[in-house]
Amino acid sequence: MLKYFGKRLLVLLSVLVGVVLFVSTLTYLIPGDPATIILSQRATPEVRQKLIHELGLDLPPLVRFGQYWWKIFHGDFGYYMLSGRPVLPEVLSAVPYTFILATVGIFFSLFIGMVLGILSIYYKDTLFDHILDVLSATALSVVQYVAALGLMLVFSVALDWFPAIGMGDKGDIVGQIRHLVLPVLALSISWIGYIQRIVRQVLAETLFSEYVKTAKSFGIPRRRIIIRHCLRNAVKPLVTVVVTGWGALLGGSVFIESIFARKGLGRLIVTALTQRDYYVAQAGIMVAVVLFIIAVMLAEIINAVVDPRIRLE
């Protein structure tokens, strides 16, 4: 089994290398010259040249590339253009906020989605089931930012139940939770629809299979059958979907973070890209990708642990 994971890890690491290559090429290509940005247009050419030389931007690209990698291995991700502060600590400090958003969001969606999925199988083919089918198909189509704007409109502007902007003050847990409600809901809507459908489909497939029919004929209560036997089949697709989704959210909650004005990794990267702040963008993207790869690995590990068949392949 370790060999299996070793191989997977190698593949994922090569993907990481590829991503970093890609990112550095991209940021190298972004037009705009850091020296000019730092010094503003009025600087004289001599001062610009001096800064370019200092920043090492006048070296040939290959040398810069090599330098960049060398620095990364020493944990030096560069400095903010304008303020001179080191980049990595700032980027990493944005991660916890996104982490909270993503984690609460995914678990909330998982919980509600599973409950709804189980309920709809319990009442299979009734009106409830059909209504839920339509609702989840609709929910699937409500993308992050659409949900965010809609929720903000209804619950914040119109009803004023929940705050729209910001994250709440430090130490004010209740306030922070209140600020989390709408963003988490916005995130969850499409995930709930998705998870509900997966759960219902898996349960529908297993509920009428042979071994379950056997269990039923033994008189085992329906509830126990659903939970003990059928749900286990749902673990594999759910784990894959949920954990990789969580990983993707860590880097991709851009819209929710900007609409609700929260600090977070996605928003940081976007701002950095639009402001041509190379080092921040690069570092941010790499952090996001590393987290995603970790999530993928985690999903594979959990699946292998839960389903012995995978291990033996």
Partner: protein, 303 residues
């Protein structure tokens, strides 16, 4: 008989087969018609396309014409869905929004599918070799990037003109098509008819084009349907961030962004923007679901 002849023959055969397949499509269409949710989806997609093509004739007002006295109005008899921040008719802007968005999404899906499927076929046919592993690695690298960020970074470099946007989004979608077509080819490779063709001495490309490709199309078509919706959403998202369509060109995402700024003045912009996008997404999902159901080969049906 040189290669040129073989290619000609293969293409002729592809054409003939396509012709027969299209004749057979009648039963695909019949299946869709019998499926209510698929009909709804097809209707919505058709509506979108019609809006795009016939916008100048359908729209009640000029989407660029401002009417400052009547800004931020709600629905009225004159302006069916209300007006935006400059008094322009919202309904007209939505219809014209289709005109700006639809060509791009079809371009993205067709281009992404074409390149993705081609690469996927290569990967599947030569599976296990270095080429296969290389292509898979490329697919992984592209898809490990958080989607918005990849597109944003590329837009930052290459700009956001229509053509560039299409290329960038197609690039983003290539891995999905690549993986699916690769999986299909992998399973088709071992089918009897392929082995029969090989035994008869058919050349490699003929087998690929005439046998493997047509039979691998269904999942790709289904993915394409879904993708229409996904790309619409991403274009709207980009326009929301200010990186897609530039004003005053009407765009759905742009409407949302303006609606967000003026959320206190008028909720209608956001409402109609969200409704439009949700309906389109639902339409594309239902349509691709209908395609999936109808393209599944039925055991009981004889052709």
């Amino acid at each position: 008989m040189g290669y040129g002849n073989t290619l000609q023959n293969a293409l002729k055969n592809l054409g003939l087969r396509a012709f027969h397949k299209i004749r057979k499509q009648k039963w695909v269409i019949a299946k869709i018609v019998r499926n209510p949710s698929a009909m709804v989806g097809a209707f919505i997609v058709a509506l979108m396309i019609i809006s795009a093509v016939f916008a100048p004739w359908i729209a009640p007002h000029d989407p660029l014409k401002t009417d400052i006295e009547h800004r931020f109005e709600g629905p009225s008899a004159h302006y069916l869905l209300g007006t935006d921040e400059l008094g322009r008719d919202t309904l007209a802007r939505i219809i014209y929004g289709a005109r700006t968005t639809v060509p791009i999404i079809f371009g993205v899906v067709v281009l992404g599918a074409a390149i993705g499927v081609l690469l996927g076929i290569l990967a599947g046919y030569y599976s296990g070799t270095f080429l296969d592993k290389l292509l898979l690695w490329i697919f992984d690298v592209i898809s490990t990037f958080p989607g918005i960020i990849l597109v944003l970074a590329l837009v930052a470099i290459f700009g956001s003109s229509d053509l560039v946007l299409t290329l960038i989004l197609a690039f983003w979608r290539i891995p999905s098509y690549g993986r699916i077509s690769r999986t299909e080819i992998l399973s088709i490779k071992n089918e009897t008819y392929v082995k029969a063709a090989e035994a008869l001495g058919a050349r490699r490309w003929r087998i690929i084009l005439s046998h493997m490709l047509p039979n691998s199309l269904p999942p790709i078509i289904v993915l394409g349907g879904m993708d229409l919706g996904v790309v619409v959403m991403s274009i709207a998202g980009l326009s929301y961030l200010g990186l897609g369509m530039q004003p005053p060109k009407p765009s759905w995402g742009g409407m949302l962004s303006i609606g967000y700024t003026y959320i206190r003045q008028s909720p209608w912009l956001i409402i109609w923007g969200c409704v439009t996008l949700v309906i389109i997404m639902i339409g594309c999902s239902l349509f691709s679901g209908g395609l999936r159901a109808s393209l599944k080969p039925e055991e009981s049906l004889s052709e």
